[in-house]
């Protein structure tokens, strides 16, 4: 690329264009203002959000749906600090995001200048990497490196903080054709020996389980995973971050493991003699009390991040590399190994299928005739169909959305799994809809979550981003209330939001340029969803007014063993009737 003279701001925008950015979410302000002048005439679509947190989650939603890097942009000080939550969120869920922030002029850095915040220092503990740029000549290289780092290896957020004077000064623009970083060379192909060892260990197992995590979505390996699972014929569990990586309708699928996982998925992991771990990280919400987790299982741990190997659980075989390479190599290796020695998995499959049949996910209709939240979510999944993208907030509605929607395709389920960010759903759905404009996008949100970030519905209404929002309104911080019911003797300290009285959600939606609907009877649910589905030129918000005391089951209480899973209050599965 030839060199040309321009100011740092133009160099930044030219660099973003060269990096292939087609859309970014942001808000201007003093320190970033020079960049907004070339943005005005750029081919990049800039979506003006109403709060920087919305920009960050929108970038995340866009990235999770498209697999591309999501981009957000904000000014210095409060603009930048408002990005902290979404960037921490993207770090926990390994989402490729690049954040651009303006910084006070370089001479003012360190003087507590107006709107000064050390955002590089603030984001250092969780960002995959970050930059503070004070020389305009460094802008193209920093942008190229940021996109490279965010999107390769284990994806994650990268922040580029640029001093205002670096945006204003003249510089030569030349975008680097390649990126070379001495300290960053992520491994893509695993060692051949580790593949052979993994295949060998699999043939020695009579109770294997595929423990599939979010890495399977990031690596786009659903097709390969399906083939691998079918070659072995072993059961599969998909974690909260992996819902959709393997079809829910597949007979080998036992559902989601973890704190609110199915009895079959949780118990299969507990009783397994081998965990074939693919892009998962032994999170505490999956393992329960770690010392009691899958005590008889050997572990194959395939991950692109070497630091995950052995972090929480010892790995008998570590396979370090891109899951695409790993599974592609494992398929022929396993075929070869199974041709020599094929274990009989029939008794194991009989056991796990008996659990699956005995303990399907379910719920009781509320005795007082009020609307069941699980029923609403189940109908949303059924009526919208398997191509629909769902984004959830955090809490009971998130767990029900993970449980009662059937996911058949990768990148159709978005949620804040690691950080547990209330308020994620609406802005993430907005980013998802921008990334997949021809697909129906539903945000399944709680009344608590919705009140944290609903301002982005204005952005949606004004920018032709017609998302649909189902508020599961139980007028409570429902998951916290559930814990208060179970562990704090029903003392409901500060969880009553009274959101069936205030705000009036349909009116609030209408005020923000959306269509507002309401539903509180089971017999009206289908017609309400169908009405929402028929509106495609405006965002739609449905206030589903549901029973407030519905609880999420099954449940493994925090800090307890997965062996102590409860299917209802004070009700354990009938283990005596199971052959385990």
């Amino acid at each position: 690329m030839e060199m040309s003279q321009m100011n740092g701001a133009s160099s930044l925008v030219a660099s973003l264009e060269a990096a292939g950015v087609d859309v970014m979410f942001g808000i201007p302000g003093g320190a970033i203002l020079p960049a907004y002048d070339p943005i005005f005439s750029s081919s990049i679509r800039h979506i003006l959000v109403r709060h920087e947190q919305g920009a960050g989650h929108a970038a995340t939603g866009y990235a999770q749906v498209t697999g591309r890097v999501g981009v957000c942009i904000a000014t210095s000080g409060p603009g930048a600090t408002n990005l902290v939550t979404p960037l921490a969120d993207a770090a926990m869920d390994s989402v490729p995001v690049v954040a651009i922030t303006g910084q006070v002029p370089s001479v003012a850095i360190g003087t507590d200048a107006f709107q000064e915040a050390d955002i590089r220092g603030i984001t250092m503990p969780f960002a995959k990497h970050n930059y503070l740029i004070t020389d305009p000549a460094d802008i193209p290289r920093a942008i190229a490196e940021a996109f490279h780092i965010a999107s390769t290896g284990r994806p994650g957020p990268v922040l580029v903080d640029i001093a205002k004077d670096a945006l204003q000064k003249m510089t030569d623009f030349k975008y680097p054709t390649s990126v070379s970083l001495k300290g960053y060379q992520p491994k893509s192909a695993p060692d051949a020996q580790s593949i052979t060892d993994a295949a060998e260990l699999i043939t020695q197992s009579s109770k294997p389980v595929f423990y599939v995590g979010g890495g399977a979505i990031k690596a786009d390996v659903s097709r390969e995973l399906l083939e691998l699972a079918q070659i072995l014929g072993a059961p599969v569990v998909t974690t909260l971050m992996a819902r959709g990586a393997f079809p829910d309708s597949h007979p080998l699928h036992l559902g989601m493991p973890g704190m609110h996982g199915t009895v079959a998925a949780v118990t299969a992991l507990q009783k397994a003699d081998l965990l074939i771990t693919l892009g998962a990280r032994f999170d505490d919400r999956v393992t329960g009390k770690l010392s009691t987790f899958a005590v008889n299982a050997k572990v194959i741990h395939a991950d692109i991040d070497p630091a995950e190997i052995g972090k929480n659980r010892f790995a008998d075989v570590a396979v370090i590399g891109d899951l695409k390479h790993t599974i592609t190599a494992l398929i022929p290796a396993l075929k070869l190994a199974l041709a020599k020695s094929r274990p009989d998995l029939t008794p194991w499959l009989r056991q796990v299928n008996a659990l699956k049949a005995s303990y399907p996910l379910g719920y009781d209709a509320p005795k007082d005739g009020s609307l069941s939240p699980q029923y609403v979510i189940e109908r949303l999944g059924k009526i919208s169909g398997p191509q629909t993208i769902f984004a959830a907030g955090v809490g009971q509605h998130q767990m029900w959305a993970a449980q009662f929607v059937s996911y058949e395709n990768p990148r159709t389920w978005l949620n804040s799994g690691g950080l547990g960010t209330m308020g994620y759903a609406v802005p993430a759905a907005m980013g998802a809809k921008v990334g997949a404009p021809d697909t129906t996008v539903w945000a399944i949100d709680g009344d608590g979550c919705f009140q944290m970030t609903n301002q982005e519905l204005v952005t949606c209404a004004l920018n032709n981003i017609p998302i649909k929002v189902a508020i599961i309104n139980n007028e409570s911080l429902g998951m916290v209330r559930q814990w208060q019911t179970l562990f704090y003797e029903g003392r409901y300290s500060n969880t009553n939001l009274e959101s069936k009285r205030v705000p009036n959600f349909p009116m609030l939606a209408e005020a923000m340029g959306c269509v507002g609907l309401s539903c509180e009877r089971a017999e009206d649910v289908d017609a309400t969803i169908e009405k929402a589905m028929s509106i495609n030129d405006q965002p739609v918000v449905v206030d589903f007014r549901v029973h407030r005391d519905a609880m999420v089951w099954p449940m493994v209480a925090a800090g307890t063993s997965n062996d102590d899973i409860m299917i209802a209050r004070e009700t354990a599965p009938d283990w005596d009737s199971q052959e385990l």
């Binding site: 220092g121 970083l181 300290g183 960053y184 491994k187 991040d305 070497p306 630091a307 052995g310 370090i320």
Partner: protein, 95 residues
Amino acid sequence: MAQHTLEVIVENSPGVLARVAGLFSRRAYNIERLSVGPTSDPETSKMDIVVNLEGHALEQVIAQLDKLINVISIQEILPNSAQPVIHDTQPDYTN
């Protein structure tokens, strides 16, 4: 518990000491002793980090340190051995 000395070669860039110190703090590990100095290459610096860790915890610290983009290499210096143990959890780029 035995002390281990890690010789960490880092890029000589602003903030790199904060990144390394912050990593120890965030992952709840202690640094016993730390010294930072130049190398023959002006673009790199050398950190000698003494830690009171072994086994799994030592491996985790090394693996997490290696994830820092500005960390180029990590060697464990053994007192009575001519051969340093080279830790490289990110082998050659094979893409």
